[in-house]
């Protein structure tokens, strides 16, 4: 399952470090009764946020808040364990939902982002 199809509650419980990122984006998901039912994609849509931007920021969230070696975490597939995920991406390199080919990044950067997502 990709991060965008995870429910907000699963994402927050697997990766508590995303909570401040959500709040920074103005999302009221932490503590929300709807969080177990709404996916990251639906939340982005409901708040009028670009999914790719949100995903990039979530991926870049500091991973120190969760237990290393917890391989049951559904977030592992999303590449959060990769220490490189902490690198902040330049605005132009942030992927949007459907235009992987038009991100204006060099090939190497694009595949890196593809791995993050």
């Amino acid at each position: 399952m990709t991060v965008s199809d995870m429910t907000m509650a699963d994402l927050m419980s697997a990766r508590p470090a995303v909570v401040p990122v959500l709040l920074r984006h103005g999302l009221a998901c932490p503590g929300c009764a709807m969080a177990p039912f709404m996916t990251v994609r639906e939340a982005a849509d409901a708040y009028g946020l670009e999914l790719g931007v949100l995903l990039a920021d979530l991926a870049a969230a500091d991973s120190s808040g969760s237990d290393a070696g917890d391989d049951q975490s559904p977030a592992s597939e999303g590449g959060f364990r990769n220490p490189r995920a902490r690198i902040a991406l330049p605005e132009a390199c942030r992927p949007s939902e459907s235009d992987d080919d038009r991100m204006g990044c060099a090939d190497g950067e694009r595949s890196f982002i593809g791995y993050l997502l």
Partner: protein, 238 residues
């Protein structure tokens, strides 16, 4: 009369969290299982509180009636939750009616058995304290809402509480998974049936909720949260 229950049915019940298999077996041995068909009373307001209760399956509505006959829905009880247990430790009278709103199976423990279980296994008493604390906090929130919030926010908060307790993802959105009438919502929010109907109809017009006679589906979950929490309006992106 259902067959004697398996101790496994107490697993996952917050009241018995942290107990070992032996203690669970002891608790279940002292419990009385009973079925309550939809629409029947589990206990009535003002009756002597003879037992503590836990719901195994179904849905129970706790509703208190004032001296003037006005009813207030205190809460809905879902599977795994305790109810009607506090009266044993207070004035010995049930403070509200408990009505099965779906076919129910419950366990009850006579007051002496519940007290004995708590004495032998203090974790049960601690768990009960934590459950009561959570419900007190919820009631404090409701009191504040009734005192300070406009009625739309109160109704939105009531629906969100029900989603938290009994929400189920369906194709159209998030469904509150038990029979819920507009009158119930009015009695949960300290307002009238007329106001609830007007509010829900307006929300239906905006595509936020869809409500049948006894069923509520939240079609735009975020829009409801935005009303409850006074968030900025949702950008309409078609």
């Amino acid at each position: 009369m259902p067959p004697p229950p398996d101790p496994a049915i107490l697993r996952g019940m917050p009241l018995f969290a942290g107990l070992d298999a032996g203690a669970l077996a002891e608790a279940v041995a002292l419990a009385r299982p009973r079925r309550h068909p939809r629409g029947t009373a589990v206990f009535a307001q003002g009756e002597p509180a003879a037992a503590g209760h836990a719901l195994i399956d179904g849905r129970v509505k706790i509703v208190q009636t004032g001296p003037d006959g006005q009813q207030v829905v205190m809460r809905f009880i879902g599977p795994g939750e305790m109810f009607g247990t506090l009266a044993i430790f207070t004035d010995g009278l049930y403070p509200a009616d408990a009505v099965a709103v779906a076919d129910c199976v419950e366990l009850s423990w006579p007051a002496a058995a519940m007290t004995e279980l708590m004495d032998r296994h203090p974790a049960i008493a601690r768990n009960a304290l934590s459950i009561v604390g959570g419900r007190l906090r919820e009631l404090q929130n409701r009191l504040r809402e009734v005192a300070t919030e406009r009625v739309e926010r109160r109704i939105a908060h009531a629906l969100l509480r029900l989603v938290r307790q009994a929400g189920r993802r369906v194709e159209a959105g998030v469904e509150i998974d038990f029979p819920l009438s507009r009158q119930d919502v009015a009695e949960m929010t300290g307002t009238t049936l007329h106001t609830v109907s007007r509010t829900l109809s307006a929300w239906e017009g905006q595509g936020i909720v869809e409500s049948g006679r006894q069923q509520v589906v939240i079609r735009k979950p975020h829009a409801l949260v935005a009303i409850a929490e006074d968030l900025p309006p949702v950008p309409d992106r078609g």
